[in-house]
């Protein structure tokens, strides 16, 4: 699949943003200063919103994006939109109430948290639902998205969080405990992906054409000599070696670096704000991971074009 920048930005940033919102909503202790609360909330919400905005760059008609809220009963993309807006509105209220009232916000917070996780889940389901892309069509996809959202979100809020409540060491340990399993899920995802090929689902040139009964099937000529929307969008190819290196890079930057930073924070008892560096590293790693998520995925359409 074509790794479109807008979609990579969308999934990674909104994942981190909603991860952070989920944590804040669930009551992760923030620094006890209204400005800190506001800034943290803005950072989390901003990431989520930025992701959503990025996703509209991918649309042919962003001005009609509002229409995407209508099909929540059947469409994961629609659900994602509805949930995202609900989560963001809830989060906004939650933040405002927290800053300017003394209403109890825990209830809203939990709801916001649930909505945020549901949003991440829906984002993942946009891809996981597609039987056309066996790499994606797995429960591990939402698991990875949720894991990454929570881990990256955690690094963000933890950096801005109130250390005294939990203690810097435990914060750092929690960070590690989120980052490592998230990547573990991803590694499991990759492992599955290795065997979750089109061929493994019996999606082959033979079954795509129904000509397998005659013999081995191979494309001789594409319908058109040039490219088309389908080939650009779905018949993207990336070399194996190249992919292997990028995976290593993704893990090094997105998993090891944040873990190392968290370990240093714990070991050297550094300010948790240093976790921000871990957040940045993880995001960078996730961009690579997400690029691969698309670039490595084979769509069944490629059976008609390769």
């Amino acid at each position: 699949m074509h790794p479109a920048v807008s979609v990579i930005l969308f999934t990674v940033t909104s994942g981190a943003g909603f991860g952070a919102i989920a944590l804040i909503g669930a009551g992760y202790p923030l620094r006890d200063h209204p400005l800190a609360v506001l800034l943290t909330a803005m950072a989390a919400g901003g990431l989520a919103v930025a992701g959503l905005v990025a996703s509209t760059f991918h649309l042919g008609h962003p001005e009609r994006a509002w229409r995407a809220f209508s099909q929540w009963r059947s469409s994961w993309l629609s659900r994602e939109g509805v949930l995202a807006v609900a989560a963001l509105v809830g989060f906004g209220l939650h933040t405002l109430a927290r800053l300017f009232t003394d209403w109890p916000v825990a209830g809203i917070g939990w709801a916001v948290s649930a909505l945020s996780l549901a949003t991440i889940f829906s984002t993942a389901m946009i891809y996981a639902q597609l039987r056309t892309v066996p790499h994606w069509h797995s429960a591990l996809t939402p698991a990875a998205y949720l894991g990454f959202g929570l881990a990256s979100g955690f690094l963000l809020v933890a950096a801005a969080g109130n250390v005294s409540a939990l203690g810097g060491v435990s914060v750092a340990l929690i960070a590690m405990a989120l980052v490592v399993p998230a990547w573990a899920v991803k590694i499991a995802w990759w492992q599955r992906a290795a065997s979750a090929t089109l061929a493994a689902r019996d999606m082959t040139a033979e079954s795509a054409t129904g000509l397998g009964a005659i013999g081995r099937v191979r494309l001789l000529e594409r319908p058109h000599s040039g490219a088309n929307y389908l080939t650009r969008e779905m018949v993207h190819r990336i070399g194996r070696k190249h992919a292997g290196k990028l995976r290593v890079a993704a893990i090094a930057i997105g998993a090891m670096l944040p873990t190392l930073i968290a370990a240093l924070v714990a070991w050297l008892q550094l300010e948790t704000v240093f976790l921000l560096a871990g957040f940045v590293a993880m995001m960078a790693g996730l961009f690579v991971e997400r690029w691969l998520f698309f670039a490595e995925a084979s769509h069944s359409v490629s059976l008609y074009y390769d």
């Binding site: 000529e221 000599s225 040039g226």
Partner: protein
């Protein structure tokens, strides 16, 4: 929302939208198939083009090219004004001029040549459909140098057929799709009859009839055929003769048919050393003789009560011996050298497959004979109460004819058809009116204008019956024509040799040319061999700095590669903007059961300053005061081409169109001009069709009802005997000349090859290029195929079609790829004796193991066709033509032979031999690349979104 249905969720869908304001029915022109089309017009623009269901050719269907007519018609490559060259030839630099200036200039150049030496005008036309006009014009002008494109196209097919049985595959006949029981198709990718062939193949499938495709490549028609014969290029003759061998051995021939309709029983003089050895024994009236079985006497063929023998030795009145054709034939083909075993290694077809196909042919022909209960009378007056058919049919085209042994190969195929009795019998191959037209009623070639400024005494092209009909200067050797047609180089060049004109004019062999006048032929590119060489020749200058080819006038509708080499460009209309005439005098569209012709008419008006070339030609004719083109009052005889179509008479009562003749349109074929004729055509969908009476639908070579009907309808002037020529005496006459026994005789240089190739019975000899080199330096064959969705060079300007074929890979058999270390998309050098090109490779397995192929004419020169200079056609499309030479590799005999069939001069495109090596191509472009030339038209738009205006 009028009658619209409502959809799920109450969604409005306009299901009955307005389609068009008007439908105008005319004839398609994206190829020579000439299908009927319904052009839907909306707001004066073309909304949609579909096939005309009533039309005899396409019955409603339409191919990809026809369906892309909108993009062709609105192409940005359309020329819009006459152009006068300002830069060097080839540069593409022009200035726009007015028509008056253009015509005056052309008339000036042409007039001067006509006064001085008319042969210094070479007027050649491409695949136009106005040959009856253009040839007549050239005849009136008085130059011997006229032909259309047939010489590089498929003259072998046409000539072999006409000489053998008075028809030909090409577009002169068709398969009996309704009755045939076995169909063999040789060397066809698309053909001129492309929609009828597809309709026919589909009909065969419906009827459960087997199709066998003989083709080195298994795409298209060969892909759907039930069986594939993966023949090695250039060896079909051998394969066919092996089948003939099997059939004769098994006695599976239609003896009755041979006796009645062929020269199988004619006696051939056997008198070694005599000047008539090998000619037919004839009586005092010139009638051929046969040996009567009853009396044992030699009598004239066709005499009442004669029962001719097919074998044995007759003694002629003068005491010399003579043998029936059939005996010679049987002996020749029974030779073990023709057996399936002996031929297998050359043809690449196993002995088993050849033998089985022979058996299938025999079975279908004789065990499944079809009978129509239709009485008919033959030319001897004998009444037959039924029509008996041998339901095996054949079709063949350029795959067998575009070789230097193509004439004989086509003849071999016709021999096979005739032996089993399947020409114009039910289930076989059928003539399409006006065919059959045997040699007896075909013209001989004409050369002579009595003096400068006078017309030729007859048509340029024709069918020589022997050396005496050649067009040679007084020395008996020098060709009269610039293309050397009807010379010793190509004696039976019935369509001329357009591919040699530029090369010969350039070397002034036999002489130079002052004005080269071309119409609708992209000679600077895909229709020439040695493309780079030809471009150079067109632009070469002599010591004085004058162009070697004096002046070039060219008519094209689009900015093709050739345009850049013209001094004067006469921009033509497109096919939707002009009158055209698809005439029975020219290349007709008849179907076996009907005579038919058609017109094109301006269904939209030109939005540019362009003129229909035919009208321009008539205008020039008048300016030059050519006979027949000036009225009594000194004004033009014809207002324009439309007027000519209606009023011109070739012979009294016979004009370009056969339908609705006579003052009231009540006559067909013959009749005085009808001023209303074109309106009648338009009312009737742009075509005219008249059914052939049931009694006249088969056996037309010998069918009295047909002949009378044909005469009545002006298709021929008299009843004519059409005896199929298994043994072709004219060829024997050339051999006798080569043996020095009759005059004129060829120069010594030509004798051996004439003796070898001009055998009166069909034969096979290896194609010239690489013939002796099998497995040597150039071990492989390289050929082209026409893509169904592209028409030569002119499809590439089409925004839709060029997406389908924007570049051309070379398809190479997997085994060759492996040996050369080639993978898909690798680059490779393809080298022939003439040069090399760098191309991109694609592996294929469905191809003869020694053969590689590509789509024809996809490569383009940068700057042409309103395409971007970096278009894929330029960077990744190529022409095989760059490595096909118009001359054969030097043999050390001091001669450079034309790369053509030695009999007809047919260009031997498919003889090409190559080797292949992996190439580096960091720039990923094909080589050679040519300096892009300036475009003669404004830049094309970036985006096309046709049709939006009607729905938004």
């Amino acid at each position: 929302m009028a009658a619209g249905l409502r959809g799920s969720g109450d969604r409005p869908v306009e299901t009955s939208p307005h389609v068009s304001d008007e439908v105008r029915r005319t004839t398609c022109y994206m190829c020579a198939c000439r299908c009927g089309i319904n052009v839907h017009l909306r707001d004066g623009k073309v909304r949609y083009i579909e096939g005309n269901r009533d039309h005899p050719v396409n019955r409603g269907v339409l191919c990809a090219k026809g369906s892309a007519g909108i993009m062709q018609h609105y192409s940005p490559a359309r020329l819009s004004k006459p152009l006068l060259r300002t830069g060097e030839r080839g540069s593409g630099q022009f200035r726009e001029i007015e028509w008056e200036e253009a015509l005056a200039l052309a008339a000036d150049w042409l007039g001067e040549v006509r006064r001085r030496d008319p042969k210094k005008l070479a007027f050649f036309t491409g695949r136009d459909q106005s040959q009856s006009l253009t040839s007549w014009w050239a005849q009136q002008y008085g130059t011997p140098n006229y032909a259309a494109h047939g010489g590089f196209c498929s003259v072998n097919m046409a000539a072999a057929g006409i000489y053998t049985f008075g028809g030909a595959f090409w577009e002169f006949g068709a398969v009996d799709w309704e009755l045939t029981r076995l169909f063999l198709i040789f060397g066809v990718a698309e053909d001129h009859d492309s929609n009828p062939i597809k309709l026919g193949l589909s009909r065969l499938k419906e009827r459960g009839v087997r199709t066998i495709a003989v083709n080195p490549v298994r795409t298209g028609y060969s892909a759907v055929a039930d069986e594939w014969v993966a023949i090695t290029p250039g060896t079909d003759g051998l394969f066919v003769l092996a089948i003939v061998h099997e059939l004769i051995k098994a006695g599976q021939v239609d003896v009755d048919y041979l006796l009645r309709y062929t020269n199988a029983a004619w006696l051939v003089i056997d008198d070694q050393g005599a000047a008539d050895h090998g000619l037919f024994a004839r009586d005092g009236d010139g009638r051929p003789l046969v040996l009567d079985r009853t009396s044992g006497k030699v009598v004239a063929a066709g005499e009442a009560g004669v029962r001719p023998h097919l074998k044995g030795r007759a003694v002629l009145a003068d005491g010399r011996g003579a043998v029936p054709v059939f005996e010679l034939l049987a002996r020749q083909y029974l030779d073990p050298g023709n057996s399936p075993e002996a031929t297998a290694s050359v043809t690449g077809v196993s002995a088993e497959q050849t033998r089985r196909i022979a058996a299938e042919i025999a079975r279908a022909a004789f065990a499944e004979e079809v009978v129509i209960d239709q009485p008919w009378t033959d030319l001897n007056g004998e009444r037959h109460d039924r029509m008996i058919g041998r339901p095996v049919s054949f079709h063949a085209m350029r795959g067998i004819s575009a070789h230097s042994n193509g004439f004989q190969t086509c003849r071999a195929l016709h021999l096979l058809q005739i032996l089993i009795g399947s020409i114009d019998t039910p289930g076989g191959f059928r003539f399409e009116p006006p065919y059959p037209r045997p040699i007896a009623i075909q013209p001989r070639p004409h050369r002579k204008a009595s003096e400068p400024g006078r017309p030729l005494s007859g048509p340029h092209l024709g069918f020589p019956e022997g050396p005496h009909d050649l067009l040679l200067e007084a020395d008996g050797a020098t060709p009269v024509r610039i293309d050397k047609a009807f010379s010793w180089d190509a004696p039976l060049a019935a369509h001329g040799l357009m591919h040699m004109v530029i090369a010969n004019a350039h070397t002034r062999d036999p002489y130079g040319i002052d004005v080269l006048f071309l119409y609708m032929a992209n000679m600077a590119w895909n229709s020439s061999m040695n493309t780079a060489g030809v471009m150079k020749m067109l632009a070469d200058k002599d010591a004085n700095g004058d162009y070697l080819i004096g002046k070039i006038i060219y008519s094209d509708a689009y900015d093709s590669e050739m345009v850049a080499y013209a001094d004067l460009v006469l921009p033509d209309t497109t096919y939707l903007e002009r009158h055209d005439c698809i005439s029975l005098l020219d290349r007709p569209i008849g179907e076996p059961d009907s005579m038919a012709d058609a017109i094109r008419w301006p269904v939209v008006t030109p939005d540019r300053d362009v003129r229909a070339f035919q009208s321009v030609l008539l205008d020039l004719g008048h300016r030059l005061a050519l006979p027949g083109m000036t009225a009594e009052d000194g004004g033009p005889r014809y207002r324009d081409y439309a007027d000519y179509i209606v009023r011109h008479e070739r012979r009294p009562g016979i004009g370009p169109l056969a339908g609705w003749r006579g003052a009231n349109g009540e006559k067909t074929g013959r009749g005085e001009p009808n001023p209303d004729q074109l309106s009648r055509y338009i009312e009737h969908g742009g075509f005219f069709e008249k059914a052939v009476p049931a009694e006249a639908r088969y056996y037309r070579h010998a069918n009295r009802a047909w002949q009378e009907w044909a005469v009545e309808h002006g298709l021929q002037e008299r009843v004519v005997d059409n005896v199929f020529q298994l043994y072709l005496e004219p060829l024997r006459k050339f051999q006798l000349a080569a043996e020095g026994r009759i005059e004129p005789s060829p120069p010594p240089s030509h004798r051996a090859r004439i003796a070898r190739c001009f055998t009166p019975l069909p034969t096979w000899y290896p194609p010239f290029e690489g013939g002796a080199d099998a497995g040597g330096e150039y071990p492989f064959h390289a050929i082209t195929q026409r893509p169904a969705a592209m028409y030569h060079s002119w499809g590439s300007q089409n925004a839709w079609l060029r997406q389908i074929h924007g570049h051309s890979p070379l398809f190479v058999p997997s085994a060759i790829c492996e040996a050369a270390g080639l993978k898909d998309d690798d680059w490779a050098w393809l080298t022939s004796a003439h040069g090399r090109i760098r191309v991109q490779v694609r592996r294929s397995e469905a191809v003869n193991a020694k053969t590689m192929w590509t789509w024809n004419a996809i490569g383009k020169r940068g700057g042409a066709w309103a395409l971007a200079p970096d278009a894929p056609e330029v960077r990744r499309g190529f022409l095989l033509n760059h490595i096909i030479s118009e001359l054969l590799p030097a043999k050390g005999d001091g001669m450079r032979w034309s790369n053509s069939d030695p009999i007809t001069g047919q260009a031997a495109w498919f003889d090409l031999r190559v080797r292949i090596e992996k190439a580096a191509a960091p720039d990923a472009v094909v080589l050679p690349q040519f300096a892009p030339r300036q475009s003669a038209v404004p830049p094309a738009p970036a985006t096309v979104a046709y049709g939006g205006e009607w729905t938004s």
